[in-house]
C-alpha cells in the first residue's frame, strides 16, 4: 500500500462518535430506561468459601414492591464435570460465575437476585433472603493454593492423580532445553510475583433487559460483544438465539473485562419472571469484588547464553491465579514470554490455579505482561552479566522472518527488529539522567487475532454511504472504518456514516478483543466496498451501454477504462445512486468472513524513572514506546492505544493491587485505595509508530491494542534497578516496599 498516495488512510479524521461523546449525548447502558422498568440487585456471599445449604427467598418475595426473585435454579444447569465450550469460555464455569450453585467460591459471589419497583426496595429485599452457609476454609494466594494442605475448591479437579487447585497446564517445547543450558556460558534464573490487577474501566457493568410474553427478548448492555451477550444468555436461559436481540450500548472501557457477562442473564430471568423490563447496574464496589481482574502470579524464568550474548536456552514456569473457576490466561503468559526472541531451545509451562477470589476475565494481552515481566527482567540481568547494552542483547536475539517460535508459528515478515532499532536511534535512549534517576527497556509480543466479522456497506439514495459492522467500538474503530471506506470509494470521509449493528441487524461478529477489530473489520469492509465498487461500475456500464469491464472507479467516480471504452463524462457516486432503481435496484454489499492472517505484534519500550530514596516513591519521568502496528489506519487512535496500555502497565508495576482483609474479602474496592495512576502521575507518554505492513492484510494492519501493556512492567522495574542498583522481584513496587529495601528495618 503506497502510503503517500493515501488520502484518508493514515489521516486523523474526526471520529464518528466524537460529537456524541463530548456533548454527553452518547447513550451508555446505564442511560437506558423503559416504561414500567424495575430494578434488579444481587445478593452476594460474604464468605470466600462456603457450601450453600439452603436459600429461603419467601420473605423477600412477600415484600411489597418486589416483582421477582431468582437463584441459580432459574438458570440452565451445566454439570460441573462436563465441559461446554463457547469460544474460549466454558459454560459450566460461566453459569457458576453468574450465580453460585453448589458453593460460594469468593466473597462477592452472587447467590440470589431480586427485582423490585425501586432500588431501595430491591436492597431491602436482599436483606430478607435467608442463606444457610456451611463456611469452609479458604485460600486466595496462588502459592498458598498449591500447598498440599490447601483447601480444595473443586473436588472433581485433579492434578497428577490427586485433588488439586491446579486446574490446567499448558506446555510449549522447542529443541532440547537441557542441552541448551549445558552449552550456555552464562545463566540467570529468577522468580517473580505479581498481584491481581483490575482492568479499571470507568463504566461499571450495566444492562436493561425486556422480555415480552412471547419470549422475544431485548438486551441493552455494555459489553465487548453483543453476539457474545446473545450466545451466553441463550445458553444460560435456554432461549433460542433468534428470540434475543442484543443491542450494543456505547461502552465506557472494557480492556477485556467485558468479554464475558455478569448481569445480563440475571436481568433476563428477572424480567421473564416479573413481566417487566429489568435494569441492573453494578456499584464500583461490586465491580472490584466480583468482576474479573487478571491473575496474580508466581513465575520462574531461567535464560542461558553464550558469552557474546547469543541466547541458547530459556525455561519459564508461570503459575497464574484463576480465581474461583478455572481459566487463567496461561496461554498468554507461557506463549508470549519468549516469543520476541529467536531461541533454539525453549520450555515454557503455564499452570492454571484456582483460589477463592473473583474469576479472572481477559485483561489486555491476557497473561502476556506477566510472562514478559519475568523474561524481560531476567534479560536485563543477563545483559548486565554480559556487560552488554540491553537493547543490543535483544537485537542480537530478535525474532525475524523465518524464526520458529516455541508457541508454534514460523514468523512471516514481522517488525520486531525495527522497534529495537528505532529505540536505539531515538534521542530518548541517550538523554542524560540525573541523580536517583534510571532508565529501563523491555520488549513484548502479543498474538493478535482474526476471527469472525460481518459488514454491510450501503449506498444511500443521495449517494452517501452507511457502513454497519458488528463489533463494539472501544478504541476508535468506527473512525478507522470510515477512513478505509472513504479511501476505497475515493470520497470524503464525512460522507461515510459508521454504525454498530445489533445482533438482529448485522451478521455474526466475534467480540471486540484480541486486538482484532480494526484488523478484521478492515477486511470485511474492504471486501464489501470492493463489491459495491464493482456494482457501481456495472451500473455505469448499463447507463453507458458498454461492457462492465470497460469501466473503472477512480477518485469517487466511474470512468470509461480507456479510449477504446468510449467517450463518456464520468458518473459520480451521487449520479449513479440517483439512478439505482432504474439500473437494477438498491446498491450495497455485505461480506462475512472468518478472518485469518492476524500476525503478531511487537513493541520495545524505554522508561525513565526517578526514585525518592527517602519516601520510596517512584515517578516515571519519560516514556517512549516503539511498536510495529503494520499500518496505522487512524494514527490518533493507534497512539491512544499505545499510551493507554503504557498507563495501565505503569499502574500494574507501581501501585495497583488487590488487598484482602483477614476474612478473605477485598479491602480496597474503590478507586481511592485501588491505586490506578491519575493524570498527574504520568508524563506525556511518547509513541513512535512503526509500520512494517502485514503481508496478509489488505491495508497491512496488525493488531495494536494489546501489545502496549506487555513491556511496561519490566521496563519500569529495569529503570528502578538502573536508578538504585537494586532489583525488585515482586509487584507492585509501592513506596513501602521500595523503602524497605533501601533502608532495611534493622539498619
Amino acid at each position: 500500500m503506497n502510503v503517500q498516495a493515501n488520502k484518508w488512510i493514515g489521516q486523523r479524521t474526526i471520529r464518528p462518535d466524537g460529537a456524541d461523546k463530548v456533548t454527553g449525548r452518547a447513550a451508555y447502558a446505564a442511560d437506558t430506561t423503559m416504561p414500567g422498568m424495575i430494578w434488579g440487585k444481587i445478593l452476594r456471599s460474604p464468605h470466600p468459601h462456603a457450601c450453600i445449604r439452603s436459600i429461603d427467598t419467601s420473605k423477600a418475595e412477600a415484600l411489597p414492591g418486589v416483582k421477582a426473585v431468582m437463584t441459580a435454579r432459574d438458570l440452565v444447569d451445566f454439570p460441573i464435570d462436563k465441559s461446554v465450550m463457547l469460544g474460549i469460555q466454558d459454560m459450566r464455569w460461566m453459569c457458576r460465575n453468574v450465580m453460585a450453585r453448589e458453593k460460594a467460591l469468593f466473597a462477592g459471589h452472587p447467590v440470589a437476585a431480586v427485582a423490585a419497583t425501586s432500588e431501595a426496595i430491591a436492597s431491602e429485599a436482599l436483606k430478607l433472603i435467608e442463606v444457610e452457609y456451611e463456611v469452609l476454609p479458604w485460600v486466595i494466594d496462588v502459592e498458598e493454593a498449591m500447598k498440599p494442605d490447601a483447601p480444595i475448591l473443586h473436588d472433581h479437579i485433579q492434578f497428577e492423580g490427586k485433588p488439586s487447585n491446579i486446574a490446567g497446564k499448558l506446555e510449549h517445547k522447542l529443541g532440547d532445553v537441557e542441552a541448551g543450558f549445558a552449552a550456555a556460558e552464562v545463566v540467570v534464573e529468577r522468580s517473580f510475583r505479581t498481584k491481581p490487577v483490575h482492568q479499571g474501566y470507568i463504566e461499571p457493568h450495566a444492562c436493561l433487559v425486556s422480555v415480552l410474553p412471547d419470549g422475544k427478548t431485548t438486551i441493552w448492555s455494555s459489553s465487548q460483544g453483543q453476539f457474545m451477550v446473545r450466545a451466553m444468555c441463550a445458553h444460560l436461559t435456554g432461549l433460542p438465539q433468534n428470540d434475543i436481540r442484543a443491542i450494543q450500548a456505547e461502552i465506557g472501557g472494557g480492556f477485556g473485562g467485558k468479554t464475558i457477562i455478569y448481569l445480563e442473564p440475571v436481568a433476563l430471568v428477572l424480567a421473564r419472571k416479573s413481566g417487566r423490563p429489568v435494569k441492573m447496574a453494578m456499584t464500583r464496589e461490586e465491580v472490584f469484588r466480583a468482576s474479573g481482574p487478571t491473575s496474580g502470579s508466581y513465575s520462574t524464568v531461567r535464560i542461558g547464553a553464550t558469552r557474546d550474548g547469543r541466547i541458547l536456552a530459556a525455561k519459564g514456569t508461570f503459575y497464574l491465579q484463576a480465581g474461583a473457576l478455572p481459566g487463567s490466561p496461561i496461554r498468554g503468559a507461557a506463549g508470549c514470554a519468549f516469543a520476541p526472541y529467536d531461541i533454539p531451545n525453549v520450555h515454557s509451562l503455564g499452570f492454571d490455579v484456582v483460589s477463592n477470589r473473583s474469576k479472572v476475565a481477559a485483561y489486555r494481552a491476557p497473561g502476556a505482561p506477566i510472562g514478559a515481566y519475568a523474561v524481560e527482567c531476567v534479560l536485563d540481568e543477563l545483559a548486565e552479566a554480559l556487560k552488554m547494552d540491553p537493547l543490543q542483547l535483544r537485537l542480537k536475539n530478535a525474532a525475524r522472518q523465518g524464526t520458529k517460535a516455541a508457541h508454534g508459528p514460523t514468523y512471516p515478515r514481522i517488525g520486531f527488529e525495527e522497534t529495537i532499532q528505532a529505540a536505539l536511534e531515538h534521542p530518548h535512549y541517550r538523554a542524560p539522567l540525573g541523580p536517583n534517576q534510571g532508565r529501563g527497556v523491555a520488549s513484548g509480543f502479543w498474538f493478535n487475532a482474526g476471527g469472525e466479522s460481518s459488514a454491510q456497506v450501503n449506498i444511500t439514495e443521495d449517494g452517501n454511504v452507511v457502513v454497519t459492522t458488528g463489533h463494539p467500538d472501544i478504541g476508535g474503530s468506527r473512525a478507522s472504518t470510515a477512513n478505509i471506506t472513504a479511501e476505497l470509494l475515493g470520497i470524503d470521509y464525512r460522507k461515510v456514516s459508521v454504525l454498530i449493528g445489533d445482533t438482529s441487524t448485522i451478521g455474526f461478529s466475534n467480540l471486540t478483543g484480541g486486538s482484532r477489530v480494526t484488523y478484521a473489520s478492515a477486511m470485511v469492509v474492504t471486501q464489501s466496498t470492493e463489491k459495491v465498487i464493482r456494482t457501481l461500475c456495472e451500473r455505469a456500464a448499463k447507463i453507458w451501454k458498454i461492457d462492465p469491464d470497460a469501466v473503472v472507479w477512480e477518485d469517487g467516480e466511474a470512468r470509461p477504462a480507456g479510449d477504446n471504452a468510449g467517450q463518456f463524462p464520468p458518473l459520480t457516486l451521487a449520479q449513479i445512486a440517483a439512478r439505482a432503481s432504474e439500473t437494477g435496484g438498491p446498491i450495497g454489499a455485505g461480506v462475512q468472513l472468518n478472518t485469518t492472517g492476524a500476525e503478531g505484534g511487537f513493541a520495545t519500550h524505554i522508561c525513565d524513572v526517578e526514585v525518592d530514596p527517602e519516601l520510596g516513591t517512584v515517578r516515571v519521568l519519560r516514556y517512549t514506546s516503539f511498536q510495529d502496528v503494520g499500518r496505522a489506519i487512524h494514527p490518533s487512535y493507534v497512539e491512544g492505544q499505545m499510551q493507554g496500555g503504557v498507563a495501565q502497565g505503569i499502574g500494574w508495576a507501581l501501585s495497583e493491587e488487590y488487598i484482602y482483609d483477614k476474612q478473605g474479602r477485598v479491602d480496597n474496592p474503590s478507586f481511592l485505595d485501588y491505586r490506578m495512576p491519575v493524570c498527574s502521575d504520568l508524563p506525556m507518554l511518547d509513541t513512535v509508530i512503526i509500520e512494517v505492513p502485514n503481508p496478509k492484510h489488505p491495508q497491512g494492519v496488525r493488531g495494536v491494542g494489546e501489545v502496549p501493556l506487555v513491556p511496561p512492567l519490566a521496563a519500569v522495574a529495569n529503570a528502578i534497578h538502573d536508578a538504585l542498583g537494586h532489583r525488585f522481584y515482586s509487584l507492585p513496587m509501592s513506596p513501602p516496599k521500595v523503602l524497605a529495601v533501601l533502608e532495611p528495618a534493622d539498619a
Binding site: N668, R675, S680, P736
Partner: protein, 289 residues
C-alpha cells in the same frame, strides 16, 4: 427508606436550634464532600440535614484588626485560595486546605468539614494545629473556644457536645520572621489520602528559631501536636542536629496502624522525613538566609 429533611437556615441560632432538637439524628452539611459520600455508602443515614452555607458568619473570611484571621467553618478551599491576603500570611495552612481533593472538590470542601469529619488523615488539620488556630463553637449552651487539636476525639469522632456547631477558625497575628508549610506523603500525586501529613509553623529571629509548632497527621487515632518536636527546634539555628532531634520526636510520637494505606514501619519513618522537608520550606518562607 425513611425520608430525609433538609434545612438551610440563615442564622446560626436557627441552625443550632434545629440541630440540637434533632438529638443526634441530624447532620451538619458544609461542602458535603465527606457527608454525601458517606450517605451514599450507607455509612450514615441522617433524618435531618442542616446546611450551614447560607449563614454569613460561616462562609466569610475576615482579617482582624490585630492582623489575625477569622475563617468561617464552611468557607470552601477555592474561596480561601482566592483571598488576596490569606495565602501570603499563612501559605502552609492554605496549601494544606488546597491539597484536599481536586479542583471540583475544592469548590465545596471546607476546613470545618475537614476537622469535624475527624479523619486522622485530614490534610488541613496538622497545618491548623501548627498554626495554633482556635475554633469557636456554638451550641444550645452558647459559645466557647477550643484549640484545633482538642476537637478530634478519635477516627470519625469529635469532642463537640451534642448540638454544637463549629463556627469558625481564628488564626493568631503573625510576628515578623514567621513561616509555615504543610507536606503530605501520598502514593499518587493527587486524589489520594495522606499516609503521613506534617504541618510546621516557626518563627526565626536572626537565624535562630524562637517558636515552632509541629502537627502530624495519619500516624495516630487523631492528628497530633508534637510538642517535643517544636521544643527541639526552638533555640536552635535549625542545624542538622536540631532537625534530626525534631524528626526523632515525630517518629517517637507516632502510634500508627498497619493498614491498606501504609505500614507502621513506613509511616513512622516517613514522619521524620516529612518533618525535615517541611521545616526546610517553612524556614525559607520565614526568610532564612
Amino acid at each position: 427508606m425513611t425520608d430525609i429533611r433538609y434545612l438551610a437556615p440563615r442564622t446560626l441560632d436557627e441552625a443550632v436550634g434545629a440541630f440540637a432538637a434533632a438529638r443526634g439524628a441530624a447532620r451538619i452539611l458544609a461542602g458535603g464532600t465527606d457527608l454525601l459520600v458517606q450517605m451514599r455508602a450507607g455509612a450514615v443515614r441522617p433524618g435531618l440535614i442542616v446546611d450551614i452555607k447560607r449563614i454569613a458568619e460561616m462562609t466569610s473570611i475576615e482579617e482582624t484588626a490585630d492582623g489575625g484571621f477569622r475563617i468561617g467553618a464552611a468557607v470552601s478551599g477555592a474561596v480561601l485560595g482566592e483571598h488576596p491576603r490569606f495565602g501570603q500570611v499563612w501559605p502552609g495552612v492554605l496549601e494544606a486546605v488546597n491539597l484536599i481533593g481536586s479542583t471540583q472538590v475544592q469548590g465545596r470542601a471546607s476546613p470545618g468539614g475537614n476537622l469535624c469529619n475527624a479523619s486522622p488523615a485530614g490534610d488541613s488539620v496538622p497545618a491548623m494545629i501548627a498554626a495554633d488556630a482556635v475554633v469557636t463553637v456554638q451550641g444550645p449552651d452558647g459559645r466557647r473556644q477550643m484549640p484545633v487539636a482538642a476537637v478530634p476525639a478519635g477516627p470519625g469522632r469529635t469532642n463537640l457536645a451534642p448540638g454544637e456547631i463549629l463556627v469558625s477558625f481564628t488564626l493568631p497575628p503573625r510576628p515578623r520572621g514567621a513561616g509555615d508549610a504543610y507536606l503530605r506523603m501520598i502514593p499518587r500525586t493527587e486524589m489520594d489520602i495522606a499516609v503521613v501529613g506534617c504541618g510546621v509553623n516557626l518563627t526565626l529571629r536572626d537565624g535562630t528559631c524562637t517558636a515552632a509548632r509541629v502537627g502530624l497527621g495519619a500516624v495516630a487515632p487523631t492528628v497530633l501536636l508534637v510538642g517535643e518536636a517544636g521544643k527541639a527546634l526552638v533555640g536552635s539555628r535549625l542545624d542538622a542536629a536540631a532537625i534530626e532531634a525534631a524528626a526523632a520526636a515525630c517518629r517517637a510520637a507516632c502510634r500508627p496502624i498497619d493498614d491498606k494505606r501504609g505500614t507502621i514501619a513506613y509511616r513512622t519513618r516517613i514522619a521524620g522525613v516529612l518533618l525535615k522537608r517541611t521545616v526546610g520550606i517553612a524556614a525559607d518562607r520565614a526568610g532564612r538566609a
